[in-house]
């Protein structure tokens, strides 16, 4: 058994080496297909990072009437915190708002002076609310619309941001759905191309398969080297495509980083490198072996 296995390995490597042009062509096609497949995976992730980042920047603010008592505002905050849609709330009191305003305009003499001249603080207290999901903003907005709050709430910024939120929501949905469909489609195309390429390679060896049968080789002995070749195709194709993907991501990351407030696409890619490589190996080798298995089976019936 061990001798048979070592012979199968020897023949697989030998066939891969001696059928140089054919092996190169098969590996090249596998490489290109896997590159497309990985490219799409990476593109999907990067788009998601960017969208998540934009989503993080979105919040709605509730501005309270100047005479609204702080206790009532804190009651509103507590009731908002108890909602399942709310991720976080931040209370900014009138004094804090003034402080922030002053810092923001410290270089603007006119504004600083006019603020100093005022006796009262003209700014209202506010609550900044972040929702867990984009779709939750409308629920929160309608919650704040309730009659019990109208006496203390001056305005809710949702109505101003609703267009941006809706647009982002639809972009996100489209990217998620489109990416998923494209990925499935690409996987099927990749599988078909790889299967056909290997089938053609084995088709050109069909006479050899017949000769091996005639000399008395068992199916296992005939099939083994082809399965090994499938593994080699998948392995080399995956390694080459992950290397090229890494290079591409490394050089294009700065362009994407501009779109993200904090974080680096390259760092994100590095953290997921092995998972991605593993997926590629499973996909590449799996397809290589399965294609070889089914392509050879046809010629083992003599």
């Amino acid at each position: 058994m061990l001798t048979t296995l070592s012979r199968i390995i020897k023949y697989g490597l030998q066939a891969f080496w001696r059928n140089g042009p054919q092996s190169t062509a098969t590996v090249a096609i596998l490489f290109l297909v896997l590159l497309g497949f990985t490219g799409l995976l990476v593109f999907n992730s990067v788009t998601n990072i960017i969208l998540m980042d934009i989503q993080d920047k979105i919040d709605i603010s509730v501005y309270f009437k100047i005479d609204a008592p702080e206790d009532s505002i804190l009651d509103v905050q507590r009731s908002l915190d108890s909602l399942s849609e709310v991720k976080s709330t931040e209370y900014i009191s009138r004094d804090q708002a003034l402080k922030i305003f002053k810092i923001q305009h410290q270089n603007d003499q006119t504004i600083s002076q006019s603020i100093e001249e005022l006796d009262i603080n003209p700014l209202s207290a506010s609550l900044n609310i972040r929702a867990k999901e984009l779709k939750d903003y409308s629920t929160i907005a309608s919650y704040l619309d309730k009659e019990q709050f109208t006496s203390i709430i001056d305005k809710v910024s949702y109505t101003e941001n609703v267009n941006v939120i809706d647009r982002l929501k639809s972009i996100k949905n489209n990217v998620e759905q489109g990416g998923f469909i494209l990925l499935i489609f690409m996987s099927i195309v990749a599988a078909l191309i790889i299967f056909n390429t290997i089938r053609l390679a084995i088709f050109s060896n069909r006479e050899e398969l017949g000769i091996m049968r005639l000399v008395g080789a068992s199916n296992f002995f005939i099939r083994g080297p082809y399965l090994l070749e499938g593994i080699i195709y998948g392995f080399i194709g995956s390694v080459m495509s992950i290397i090229l993907t890494s290079i591409l991501v490394y050089y294009t990351a700065p362009h994407f980083n501009v779109l993200i407030s904090n974080g680096d696409v390259w760092v994100y890619f590095k953290a997921r490198f092995f998972t991605l490589f593993l997926y590629e190996l499973i996909f590449g080798i799996g397809l290589g072996v399965l294609s070889s298995y089914f392509a050879v089976r046809k010629y083992l019936k003599i």
């Binding site: 006479e207 050899e208 005639l214 008395g216 068992s218 002995f221």
Partner: protein, 230 residues
């Protein structure tokens, strides 16, 4: 020992039935040298395909030694084929393997050890006079040399039977006579030889048993026969 008992083989093509072999019975003893003669389509190749299990008979029984070929399962066929050496008109060598590797392959599939392979494969190539061309690929060999590699491969596992299907069809007269001499030598060493051919000169020069086929029927079976076909 080869036995055909009332063997019929039909092929169905487009609902039209052709009879390739019609109720053929024959008995070939061990160490015999038998020529199978007949025109193309007479049934020679069908007999060979039935012997090596490439086809199953529609009716009747095919027996080689201890094997009942009809009843062999697909995974048992390799064992039968290691007991039969076969050579063909088109040589059927593995194009990507050298002469040595082609011969060694037959030993490897039979599970021989590396030491045995290193010993036997060069011996077999020496026997057919190709000791100096072991490292050549088939494309670097002449027709006669390719056929000799095929013979070395066929004989390497010491088969009980050597089947030669038009082995000289692609060869010039000099190579033809050398191949026939080689087959006679192999037969003398104790292997049953079944030679399918339509080369009249070869058959008439052999003075061995001749089985003549016509339209799928055995029409003549003579010891020390001649090639007599209209």
């Amino acid at each position: 020992m080869i036995i055909f008992q009332n063997v019929t083989k039909n092929y169905k093509v487009d609902n039209h039935e052709t009879i390739a072999l019609n109720d053929a019975s024959l008995h070939i003893h061990q160490k015999e040298f038998v020529s199978l003669v007949g025109k193309s389509g007479a049934g020679k190749s069908t007999i060979i395909k039935l012997l090596i299990g490439e086809e199953r008979p529609s009716k009747g029984k095919v027996i080689i030694g201890s094997y009942n070929v009809n009843k062999l399962k697909s995974n048992e066929l390799p064992y039968l084929r290691r007991k039969i050496g076969v050579i063909f008109q088109d040589f059927r060598l593995l194009a990507n393997k050298t002469a040595y590797e082609n011969v060694a392959f037959a030993l490897e599939v039979a599970g021989r050890t590396p030491q045995e392979i290193k010993e036997f494969a060069p011996q077999a190539l020496d026997m057919v006079g190709l000791g100096d061309k072991m490292k050549n690929f088939p494309r670097e060999l002449s027709g006669g040399e390719k056929q000799r590699v095929a013979i070395a491969r066929a004989m390497i596992n010491h088969p009980d039977v050597l089947i030669a299907d038009e082995p000289t069809g692609n060869l010039d007269p000099v190579n033809t006579s050398e191949i026939i001499k080689l087959l006679l030598k192999i037969n003398k060493l104790g292997t049953t030889v079944l030679l399918a051919t339509h080369n009249k000169e070869i058959v008439n020069g052999l003075n061995k048993r001749v089985i003549s086929l016509e339209d799928g029927r055995i029409i003549r079976d003579e010891e020390e026969g001649k090639y007599i076909l209209v």
